[in-house]
Amino acid sequence: MSFSWAKHYEPKTDLTKWLDQRLPLPRLVYGAIGAGYPVPRNLNYFWNFGVLAGIALVMQIVTGIIMAMHYAPNALVAFDSTEHIMRNVNWGWMLRYAHANGASFFFIVVYIHIFRGLYFSSYKAPREMIWLLGLVIFLLMMATAFMGYVLPWGQMSFWGAKVITGLFGAIPLVGEPIQTWLLGGFAPDNAALNRFFSLHYLLPFVIAGVVILHIWALHIPGSSNPTGVEVKTESDTVPFHPYYTAKDGFGLGVFLILFCSVLFFAPNYLGHADNYIPANPLSTPAHIVPEWYFWPFYAILRAFTFDFFIVPAKLLGVLAMFASILLLFFLPWLDRSPVRSGNYRPLFKIFFAILVLDVLLLGYLGGAPAEEPFVMMSQLASAYYFAHFLIILPIISKIEKPKPLPFSITDSVLGKDSIGTAGGPALQPAE
């Protein structure tokens, strides 16, 4: 679907006409990311991050497939084969660093993408399905990243595998059998390593599949925009190509500069030195932490140090951690405000800022040792996280008086911010 004024693909040469009748792939591209896809003209740079996430996914798949040509998923040689990639394989060090830092940058990009959605309420009707599919992608990404981290079979790999599968051990009655089943043993070993490798190779392609659904769902209503006012007329939009291909291209350039700065000048900054020690089942590293992108969730997990009625602390932590993400699936129905964009919601804006700080704090706490005052702070920050979505948001939706919305995207671009003006004269972009 697209807006009625969307341009239609017209094959010009005999070859493209022939192809169009047999496999209209150019038509698909033209309508999806070409001149045939009208997009709101006022998207800001936060709307770059979906495309960046897609590029990050492709980079992970390319570097990952290459490393699989040199890596051996066997507990006896996995660590050595990783070092083999670092030392012997031509450019292996670069490809591995690109993959490891690529994962970090993928998460940075996706976190910005998610918070963009939170601030501009992109999850609201008619875009709930885009949001829900996004969350499915996010869960798949976390599973993929976790299993990837196990593959080098260093100390952090091994103990990460043990601790994370241990989460399932918290489930009453069936927990321990499930953990044993997941690992194919009583502790991480060859069986676990092999299945993690198999799934780590598979899941990115599942993610790619869900991304296609995500973008399909996006193309039904089209992108939202910083005003949150829906597209009304042709003058509210510009064709995706060349306007947003150029804007996304520029954003990609900036992204790659930042990525390369870390890749070439601080490739181990985001990693953990203990993972350069081969896995040792008999000794746990003193300070065991997951990768940084899991820290907020890790903080919630560790916040539960007390039993609650009959529910043991261990189970509570696990439930809370999963709940912190599952909660987001209900967000489209928790935030009842009819206004989308945070720009027009004075009260929401404040609490959104507090939520961002709260999640950053949780991230910091997740990386800190499990001792006071960090434990108590984790408890407060976790409580606030849930309160934001379950209590604060619904209340704000009720009591807030939003600022007046522009009549249309065109009006807001041309600076007429009052309700009721008729659509301004259509300004045609320069050809």
Binding site: V62, I66, M69, H70, H84, R87, N88, V89, N90, W91, G92, M94, L95, G249, G253, L427, P429, A430
Partner: protein, 190 residues
Amino acid sequence: MAEQVTINQDGSAAVESDGVRRRDFINIAAVSFAGVGAATVLIPLITQMAPSKDVLAQASTEVDISAIAPGQTIKTVWRKQPVFIRNLTPAEITDAEGVSVDALRDPQSLADRTVDGKTNWLVTLGVCTHLGCVPLGAAQGEVKGEFGGYFCPCHGSHYDTAGRIRKGPAPTNLLVPEFSFLSDTVIKIG
């Protein structure tokens, strides 16, 4: 196109006089820059499949040849490929030297294929130059082909006592790897 006025989206106007629009220039410059960058990225993506440093480190082999009697051949391994080291008998040397070089498919004399003063030591890859099978004739009791050297059972290539192709589909003589004598009894291949 002489003088052209472009109205930009923000309403400002850009005037160009030589017919080349500034935007065309920026476009070409940006796309070329990205293209060169993308092409550069292909270098690591492709060369990662070339032999890695540990493989290259195994690229030479030393062999003790003191126990090889005249008429005997041993097989050894160099770069994961079989190598034949053959101590030719005087009769085999005469045989090989008696052939008119010009009549050969891949013209080479025995002297071309051996080290000066040690013409009895024939060192070749045990890899048929046709499609890569290991020819027979090295081990005791194997057929040596019509010319007393090696015979490839896959597609019937016959090599003579200097390892030269004489009959059958193989295009060139058995390859002589780079080798040298470290002493009278030890050679280094590669």
